[in-house]
Assembly symmetry: C2
Homo-oligomer: 332 residues x 2
């Protein structure tokens, strides 16, 4: 049994906290919003993010960040990528290198455009025992105890931390595969949200399943080019954190980025589309950051370019799709 | 303008014939069932396979196989894989090496377990100008003129035939990418139907989107192992004929193999599940043929094994899924 602090009481943090309680760990779920935490205590539920799913009695809830971290052996970060850096800086004074840390956040740091594993190294030092959890995982299904398979990635030489987290999360319904490709996992986790927006736009424009499948496939090709350039591994792209998450995010109505795209495709403005989701849409910030990476490393990423243009109001969703779906192809 | 014979008046043959007429070719669609052809002439529609979609006036319909082939410059075969060999043997007497031939059939020859390109070579000779059309393509959407992107694959040294067919099919809405990996395309086109059945079973059992995405991803891993062993290319797996078609077939309710799996997962018998589809379910024969290949080449393919066990009545769909989703994982 581990004493675990889950930081971030959105849908994914809450679902993972529930799962870890089921795995017989001692779990405290922290949320920054004291009122929300109070409400969750009263209702025994995260009514806003996971309505209808009761919280286990053994799950502790807290709005006290430093106390929660101080008392834990293991830290699971589940805040949006834009809040990642600030959170690590806040907890650093009470953190020590004995406390293993894993994050389920996907995206890049908006200030620096850095990968989250670089942000973590910069703040916590290179010797921190860190890992990332990624893969196809709608929070609600995990909270409901439905089967899922995910990837835990650590640094190349850190099999020990990988095995620790595999054991921590593993159950009959929750399979953990190990990877050491932090770069590949980070790129996939970020870029998939952009593709999900594109895929949603195609759906919103009623372009059909063939177009959507083609778009996702061409998206994988452009993510592959970026991964190659940045030293990630193609195996990661073909795995759970790559393909698996991509399939889920780009075809499932549970995905916020996908639904945001659908709203855009149906003709809603960006503001109204966002309002209709009412949660963080990671792909919006990410698209600009990935575009910067693509330019910096001279990688052709037409889908990313078109999505940025749509989000910058320089192109309509319809015009972007025509551009993407009528490019004259050559060899794959 | 080419004079084209489309052989096979199922949904895909009919949709491709409609598309080729739109591309201003002179197209005759042949079907073996004289009554069906007569009805299509009367109704200006393929009411059984593509209800509600009118056939273009310029499309010729025929139940005379040899006449149709004799008069054509180009032949497109769109019969199920189990009928492929017999059809080629029938048309051979009126075929000559000037008549280019492409097939949209997916699967393996049921008698020999051979790839269709080997069957074609055996019957027509190595010098025949042959190609295969593959990729994510629900027939109805193509018939409706919605966008799609597909792969045309030919032999390694036959760029000429590849370019010919790219030109033949290409339009603003229908993009053709060229490949020369016949083996990879054949494996993907066959194996995806088995994965679609598995994916449908997971859906029918209400295991959720996470489980389905994990299953598809692990399926890609086992198809990759087979492709590697048989000399296919990983690029093909990552492309339209691989990933693209897989995403479409494993997530779309328009896929027969997927719907067959859903019916099985919901508890229907194999016979009743088949009845509910009322079209050829390629994955049934294919699963046994791919299993044979896997055994012959010593490739581990757990999903294929479980689907064969379900179709052999030696395992329930539920037990098969438990086996697949609770295997103790290691590295991806």
């Amino acid at each position: 049994m581990q004493k675990i602090a889950v930081l971030g009481s959105g849908s994914w943090g809450t679902a993972l906290a529930i799962h870890l309680v089921r795995n017989k760990h001692d779990v405290t779920l922290w949320g920054r919003n004291a009122e929300q935490i109070e409400l969750m205590k009263k209702q025994h539920m995260n009514a806003h993010f996971l309505p209808g799913i009761p919280l286990p009695d053994a799950l502790h809830l807290s709005d006290q960040l430093l106390d929660t971290v101080k008392e834990a052996d293991t830290i699971l970060v589940a805040v949006p990528s834009h809040a990642f850096k600030e959170l690590l800086e806040k907890i650093k004074p009470v953190w020590n290198s004995q406390k293993k840390i894993i994050w389920a956040s996907k995206g890049l740091d908006p200030d620096s455009g850095d990968f989250l594993h670089n942000v973590a190294d910069n703040i916590l030092g290179n010797n921190a025992k860190t890992a990332v959890l990624s893969g196809p995982s709608f929070a609600k299904e995990v909270a409901q105890g439905l089967p899922a398979a995910l990837t835990v990635a650590t640094k190349e030489n850190d099999e020990e931390t990988a095995l620790f987290f595999q054991e921590l999360f593993h159950s009959d319904k929750f399979r953990i595969y190990i990877s050491h490709d932090l770069v590949g996992v980070a790129i996939c986790g970020s870029a998939k949200n952009i593709l999900a927006i594109a895929s949603g736009i195609a759906e919103g424009l009623s372009l059909g399943s063939n177009a959507r499948a083609a778009l996702i496939t061409r998206g994988v090709a452009e993510i592959t080019r970026l991964t190659d350039k940045l030293g990630g591994k193609r195996e990661t792209l073909m795995g759970l954190a790559g393909l698996g998450d991509l399939i889920l995010t780009c075809t499932g109505v549970q995905s916020r980025n996908y639904r945001f795209g659908v709203a855009l495709g149906q003709g809603l403005s960006i503001a109204d589309s966002l309002k209709s989701i009412d949660q963080v849409v990671e792909g919006i910030n990410t698209s600009i950051l990935i575009q910067q990476l693509a330019h910096q490393y001279n990688v052709e990423m037409p889908i990313v370019e078109q999505i940025v243009a749509v989000l910058n109001h320089t192109k309509t969703p319809g015009a972007a799709m025509v551009e993407l779906l009528s490019r004259r192809p050559t060899h794959e």
